[in-house]
Symmetry: C3
Subunit: 339 residues, 3 copies
């Protein structure tokens, strides 16, 4: 987050924080549990003003922390090795500890150590080879969700291949059959494996880019609701990453839902123009500000960043985004820097 | 409801009601709880016929009561004060008791004492001022959902403004930037505040109405699932309000989902033609009879009322609309009066 | 399933099955419950390799069993009697035992003894008569979901007709008003009655078929989540029925959601082209691989079967399709036979 945008965040915020009040707001269920086993009399209830201040302080603390640092960053561009014109991606699946929000580490299953795994980005017609090494203690396989690959490369154990046992490897190889925003993820014990993080973006650029929308920036936003709560690209607010743009730029957002629930993503400040579904161009673009993304779906949308400022950007199922302790989960911001 | 339509409702209904049977059907869980702490032997089970009659009687009772009177009516047109060409809306947020169905009062948070709050209806390009007074015991702020307002009018505490503390006021002012079916609602502790009723329609008519569909009636239907159950415009069946039309008329329905769940709204008798998403015209209208509305979304649809009669109109997630005790929650009717 | 496709399934599968391992994988919650009331020491944990093998064996067992035989088959074509040009469908609603997966029998409510009921397929403009006989122990009524019938044929007790009591009959008669993929189902105590199986497809072919897409095969896929779990046409995997096609053929799939949840249906191997919503043509076809079907909705899609092989086809809410014991519920396959 740039200093400018940080200032925007802080501009109007009250900075005083009532320590007692914050602690009070933290009590909740943990305190109830304690109350059940001790005989200490409960503290007197907060005055309404103090209670409001405590709630606000918690909320402010989260916003001020944004974008909070955590260990690990998913969705980094995956640079393949190239041999005889084949783009080779070496992927190891293993169990890791993943920091979802500051201090909140959960057991995850990861491709190459991050959630999401590294972003595969190739061109329609490329020859690709994916070498999967399974270092998990259960079998797995990779499905290339959305890509019309040959059947024996489809990654479904006992239907198209044997499961890749712990310690074993498996090689996928195919010619990329068409363009679009797609995904790669586990297709074995998938409720567990995908929810825990065996997922990544598989983006295919078209052979002929002349029909592509002209964009200045291209963002991927992978939604998940199984790994340590509600996440965008593997992180929960305030550890989510803001989308940055300069006023006048057009950005493309590729939404991908790898969770178990719908997530209607709401952008403040500017409408989105939806241009593709599951990697296929819509017959005519259409505008919205809240885009409902169901599990397995991908939607591509453009935002023409005309309106400067720091704009909240979140799932509009409100319990996926905010509690009495402030914003969390599927919340980020689009920061449009004025020119 | 007109006498004619009331007669339609009653035309075929059996009127006998077996009091004993109805009471039996009411038992359910409460009775089980009582059973657990008393030694009274349970009454003998109802005969199948009596059980069916009891269930039907409960169902009939609900339908006959429709549209049931309750205290309070939301979504009334909000008439602004006008000063120097600025349309001024004075809005007070406070805690109230809200009657969702006859006799079922719940604690609500309300704008100007109703759920939904009064309907703001202005024109694209209007200058508007919203004076928010916070009489709640927690902080709040108003977000103008769907409107591309300047960043400092966006209503997100600690990002675009400080929270409006209990007892304080805050003024929003902006030039309405575009047309469409939008909303205003709380954006602070929003899971609680919106679910409890801090929400309303913000409808913007276009500067040039020549491209607007010609309609005889314009209805707003705000879906919620947090305030005393499943509601349409703040009320649950049988206290929901029917939509009325004369045969041959065209009505516009502006769906707005302020809840936490999807609600696929199903109209009997006639298809709907969907013309706008989130206030933006769809590139081509399309027809359906079940329109899936996700949280935060707005969809505008037209119904050409060709088919006379009283038509059930409800969420098609059936447990949002009917139980063994009859219809409830997200159920209303479109009543098309024959000409 | 043909021998060829069976071979495809088996081609790469490992065939060894470790009996001890399978039993171990079966333990789960039931075993925990037993553990709580006995003093037998628990068996030593499996080695990681044995645990992985056990999980794989369960998964393989399910795939190998597909398509598993069960008693009863829903959605069979309903041949009407014809009298004086009226197509007459005699429908009896009764309580049955329905086998959802091999050995898993549940109490169901059924039209003519199957779930879904028999498939009504008529032509726009046909005169149809539906004689409903109620052999349930509760009242019922049939609603023709999606069809703009006259009000008194709409099937909503106390609004358009009296409930049809146990033992009674009721006759519906109307001229089919328009084409499309529609449904017939109970509209009384519907959360229970539809979830338990009082549902079927009501497909109307157009008077003029010249604008219809040319298809080789026409499949109906009715989604439900209330009767013995997650089902496609009344069966859970591995008892679901595969869709069969020859390479080069085009198939039409008519999705219908009779459940309480969304189901984003994901087809592997080839995209789908969506052509109709709720029986009404979309203004322009559009492509996807994951089609979100909400309760009450119908979507028609075409698949041009260019890619030979056995393709997984499932709801992408992963817990509706797979557990640690393998695939189950809303899973089937599209088998494209090479030419």
């Amino acid at each position: 987050m740039s200093d400018t945008s940080r200032r925007t965040f802080l501009r109007d915020g009250t900075t005083a924080m009532l320590t007692a009040g914050v602690l009070a707001a933290c009590r909740g269920k943990a305190a109830e549990a304690v109350a059940a086993v001790t005989t200490t009399p409960p503290p007197p209830p907060l005055s309404p003003t103090a209670a409001a201040d405590a709630m606000d302080a918690m909320c402010e603390k989260g916003v001020k922390a944004f974008p909070a640092k955590t260990e690990g960053k998913g969705n980094a561009l995956f640079t393949p090795r190239v041999e005889n014109g084949v783009k080779i991606f070496d992927i190891t699946a293993s169990k890791i500890q993943w920091e979802v929000t500051p201090g909140q580490k959960v057991e995850a299953f990861a491709y190459n150590g991050t959630v999401p795994g590294p972003q595969i980005r190739v061109r329609d017609g490329d020859r690709v080879r994916i070498n999967l090494k399974n270092e998990l203690d259960q079998s797995t396989a990779i499905h290339f969700h959305g890509l019309s690959v040959p059947n024996d490369q489809d990654g479904v154990p006992f239907i198209t291949q044997p499961p890749v046992k712990p310690g074993q490897s498996f090689t996928y190889e195919f010619t990329v059959p068409h363009a679009g925003s797609h995904m790669y993820h586990a297709h074995h014990n998938a409720t567990t494996q995908v929810m825990k993080g065996l997922l990544g973006a598989f983006i295919v650029e078209p052979k002929d880019a002349s029909n592509e929308p002209k964009v200045d920036l291209d963002y991927v936003m992978i939604l998940n609701d199984g790994l340590g709560g509600f996440t965008l690209n593997g992180k929960g607010f305030p550890a989510t990453e803001p989308l940055l743009a300069k006023q006048g730029q057009t950005i493309r957002i590729r939404y991908m839902n790898e969770g178990m629930m719908i997530h209607p993503m709401h952008l403040h400040g500017m409408p989105m123009t939806v241009i593709a579904k599951d990697g296929w161009a819509q017959p005519a673009p259409w505008k919205c500000d809240t885009l409902n993304v169901a599990p397995g779906e991908r939607w591509d949308a453009l935002v023409h960043c005309t309106n400067p400022g720091t704009w909240a950007f979140h799932c509009h199922i409100l319990p996926h985004a905010e509690s009495e302790q402030g914003m969390y989960g599927m919340v980020t911001a689009l920061i449009v820097k004025p020119v």
